[in-house]
């Protein structure tokens, strides 16, 4: 980023005092990181370093990083830290994701979705 000539940098995204979270998952991911740090799984400095690393990687992959993808970086940092701290392994996360997906597909429309429905 430091090498980019000034004039080629995009304009600043702007917003009014909008809602803090655009979608519920952003709020959930936010709360998980705050809570796990409060409980001592990682320090806030570790968190900030991991988040900064995820942001840099996303930029390398071509993310314009205008703030709208911020909670995606946040979630990636969270997944990385819980794996590093051996709280949740990435294979378990992947399996659980597929269980949830199956649970949705197995649940009739309008019914509450329970994880158990994905394991039938």
């Amino acid at each position: 980023m430091e090498e980019t000539p000034l004039e080629t940098l995009p304009a600043l995204p702007r917003d009014a005092d909008g809602p803090m979270f655009r979608e519920p998952w952003e709020a959930q991911a936010f709360a998980l990181a705050v809570r796990l740090s409060e409980q001592g799984m990682f320090t806030w400095s570790e968190w900030a370093a991991t988040l900064a690393a995820e942001i840099r990687e996303a930029q390398r992959r071509g993310d314009a990083d205008l703030g709208d993808t911020y909670y995606e970086h946040w979630l990636a940092a969270l997944e990385r830290l819980v794996a590093e701290k051996q709280a949740v392994a990435s294979e378990d996360l992947a399996q659980r994701r597929e269980d949830w997906r199956a649970a949705y597909l197995n649940t009739p429309h309008g019914q509450p979705v329970a994880l158990s429905a994905g394991r039938e």
Binding site: L9, R35, W47
Partner: protein, 216 residues
Amino acid sequence: MSHDHDHSHGHDDHTHPPSETELRVKALESLLVEKGLVDPGALDEIVQTYEHRVGPRNGAQVVAKAWSDPGFRLRLLEDAGEATATLGFTGRQGEHITAVENTPEVHNLVVCTLCSCYPWPLLGLPPAWYKSAPYRARAVRDPRGVLREFGTELPEEVEIRVWDSTAEMRYLVVPERPAGTEDWSEDELAKLVTRNSMIGVETALTPAQLRAREES
């Protein structure tokens, strides 16, 4: 149960799964809860707090008090964490805060070049532009240009100081008190203090700007 549902049944025989990202969050949260590593009630409390209770009106009260009460202003500039705690603004990301005061000679601007460190108890969560790469890069390299994009023109002789926040230290800008507010109460003054003025990309509202805002 198999997935080979018949499309002639319409959409009633399954629920459309949410996005990949939402599935990832659900997976992570359900595993952490199952392992007893996180309490769902505590998560709800955090979301509630940051959606509804903590926001830039807290910082505005702090600034208005600093404008009105010289003793508080000194305490704020000396140790902002301690001074804001006496007003009840404590909590996450609020332990290490430095207040930087704008004067006719110096204008302060806050950024977090690495991620998005920000004084949550005073300003709530940061706006999207604060977290964006263009702001993070340009605030340091071209602060005057950034200010201009926010409509803030400063005389050439004003020095701009840029403060880079970290997980260890966060900053609150105390904007200059606008002229014509000498007899205003703290509550009235607080209305002039916008979130952007406490990040340093704008100045506080003038009484005329506030009137225009309230009428629109």
